[in-house]
Amino acid sequence: MIVFVGLGVIVGGAFTALNHVLGPKRPSRVKSEPYECGLPTEVTRTFRFGISFYMVAMLFILFDIEVVFLYPVGVLLNASDSVFVLVEIALFVFLLLVGFVYVWRRGALNWR
């Protein structure tokens, strides 16, 4: 346990330090803002939120949640040893794939 914590701290610290020392520094206005989420901190009335954010966020939620379904199935598969469950989950993933192909080919993933 302690070894793990130690390793974690050491590796993490080492990389951060290296980054700090070696990384190029090009400070800009956007980077210096307190929240680094893509949004300006001060929002005026006329500000419009880029629609592309919604698209990506929605797609993320979609696929993310569907992937969450895979966890219990993994556990089940382990317990049940059933071909039926395997086929079902393969079908599920296939349908997801169809959706993914559609999203991809329609260009929803291209940033506009």
Binding site: L76, A79, S80, D81, F84, V85, L95, V98, Y102
Partner: protein, 520 residues
């Protein structure tokens, strides 16, 4: 160890065919712009044909519980499924030159259409509260999108948004009610288990009573029963016409199927307690729908209100709780599908040819230069009014006979009183077709008279009838659309003269629920 649920793949096959079709049509829509329209339409039709074929095959098979009792394939679900599939198949040619479909993409439009069909099939088969709700959402969500698919028309977007909000309220109400029923019946989701859980007397359990009321309200939103109908004319008017047609017919069919299954299977023992309430709703709906349609100038609004009234007639068949009532309901739905499809198709064609949109002016005087369209719309209107020689008459006859046999003669009288009122507005349309001259102003100049003319993307008539401004033949001259219109009209008349085949068909529905139903 997990137990594999019992799945009847044979009975599930129409659903499987549809899912496969959805995937294919969606992906085909991605292939370059050329051939998309024809190819995706053809594939959609093929999918629907496959589903229809499998449904017909299942009609001969014994009733079956599909997925561990969550779905049930019986006469009711199959007949309703066939009605829905037929409606969708008639919509597909109508989409061919639809501006909304052009704009949104044929692959997407057809995928959504098929998705909605899938939801309807599942809804007709739903045998438990969970599958009920999931199917209802699967049915609704594609329709919300389709309603708003004519993106350059603000009316369409408004319609989509309105439908989304109202539909969500309906779904939420329904879900809330399901929860009450789940609690009140001691944790049952299956319809038959609910029937055992709540017994015959509803009065001693307010929880269940509230639950039933909420579910009924949720369903009433879907089938547009007054006083939950207010969205109907607005949404019908704004949605692209082919979608309106599909929505008006197929949603109603599927929702009535689950309405019947839920009330008769889950609440069968307490029938005499909910029957009077539904009867009152039916009577109110008939009156409200028919009176509301009286002053309408927009044909789609008119048909929207008429659809409300028709829902009242159909509810009569449902609430009787007899085999004959269910048969009459399904017969009426089948006839209504044919009639409405023809009517909306004619409206869609005229919408694309003139700048009057769906205003009654658009069909004025078409008796002279477009006899095929004129006759189709005329026959549809007469059939909706229930005049003899059409399937509409037989439908009313069937419903009234069932109502009298089920001791609801007064509802039978309400049906004919409703028909009388309805004649005024149906005949107004017929009068416009045959007895008024065609509008003389060139439609493009008459822009002031129709607010739709000011909107972009609307075809303007450039002289020659039957052609869109780009010179491409519009729907009216497209043999596929005309064929669909004439086929539906011919069937309306044929089933009005020789109704027996359609009655035999609808009799399957009653058989499906026969064990739960009273005789007669």
């Amino acid at each position: 160890m997990i137990e594999t649920p019992a799945i009847d793949y044979g009975a599930l096959s129409p659903i499987i065919a549809l899912v496969a079709g959805i995937c294919v049509v969606l992906l085909v829509g991605l292939i370059g712009p050329r051939g998309r329209r024809g190819l995706s339409s053809a594939l959609t039709l093929a999918t629907l044909a496959a589903a229809a074929g499998l449904l017909v095959w299942q009609l001969g098979e014994p009733d079956a519980d599909l997925v561990a009792g969550a779905l049930r394939s019986d006469g009711l679900s199959i007949t309703i499924g066939l009605i829905v599939v037929a409606a969708a198949a008639l919509v597909v040619p109508l989409q061919l030159r639809d501006p909304a479909a052009e704009e949104a993409g044929f692959g997407e439009t057809h995928t959504l259409l098929l998705g909605s069909v899938l939801g309807m099939l599942l809804l007709a088969e739903a045998q438990n509260l969970i599958s009920f709700f999931v199917a209802l959402e699967l049915l609704s969500i594609p329709l919300y999108v389709l309603c708003g698919s004519h993106r350059s028309r603000s009316r369409s977007l408004e319609s989509g948004l309105k439908y989304l909000i109202v539909g969500s309220i309906g779904s939420a109400t329904l879900l809330y009610g399901s929860a009450f029923i789940y609690g009140g019946s001691g944790g049952a989701t299956d319809f038959t288990a609910i029937a055992q859980g709540i017994g015959a007397d509803l009065a001693d359990d307010p929880l269940v009573l509230i639950g039933i009321a909420l579910v009924a309200v949720g369903l009433a939103f879907k089938v547009s029963i007054a006083p939950f109908h207010q969205w109907t004319p607005d949404v019908y008017e704004g949605a692209p016409t082919p979608i309106t047609a599909f929505m008006a017919v197929a949603t109603k069919a599927a929702a009535f199927a689950v309405f019947a299954r839920f009330f008769i299977t889950a609440l069968g023992p307490s029938a005499d307690q909910w029957q009077p309430a539904l009867a009152a709703l039916a009577a109110v709906t008939i009156v409200v729908g028919n009176v509301g349609a009286l002053g309408q100038d927009s044909l789609k609004r008119l048909l929207g209100y008429s659809g409300v009234a028709q829902a009242g007639y159909m509810l009569t068949g449902l609430l009787l709780g007899t085999v004959k009532g269910i048969d009459a309901l399904v017969f009426y739905l089948a006839a209504y599908m044919l009639i409405n499809m023809a009517a909306f198709a004619v409206i869609a064609v005229r919408e694309r040819e003139t700048a009057y949109g769906d205003d009654i002016t658009a069909v004025q005087g078409i008796g002279k230069d477009r006899p095929a369209l004129a006759w189709s719309l005329t026959i549809s209107m007469l059939a909706l009014a229930g005049l003899p020689g059409t399937a509409g008459f037989i439908g009313k006859l069937f419903l009234i006979e069932a109502a009298v046999a089920g001791n609801y003669t007064w509802l039978g009288v309400f049906i004919v009183v409703g028909s009388m009122i309805s004649l005024v507005y149906y005949l107004r349309v017929v009068a416009a077709i045959w007895m008024r001259p065609a509008p003389r102003l060139a439609p493009a100049m008459a822009g002031a008279s129709t607010e739709a003319a000011g909107e972009p993307g609307l075809p303007r008539r450039t002289g020659e009838p039957g052609r869109t401004p780009s010179g491409a033949p519009s729907g009216g001259r497209c043999w596929l659309v005309l064929g669909a219109i004439l086929a539906a009209t011919a069937a309306t008349v044929a089933f009005g003269i020789v109704p027996s085949p359609l009655i035999d068909f609808s009799a399957h529905a009653g058989e499906g629920l026969a064990s739960m139903l009273g005789p007669g």
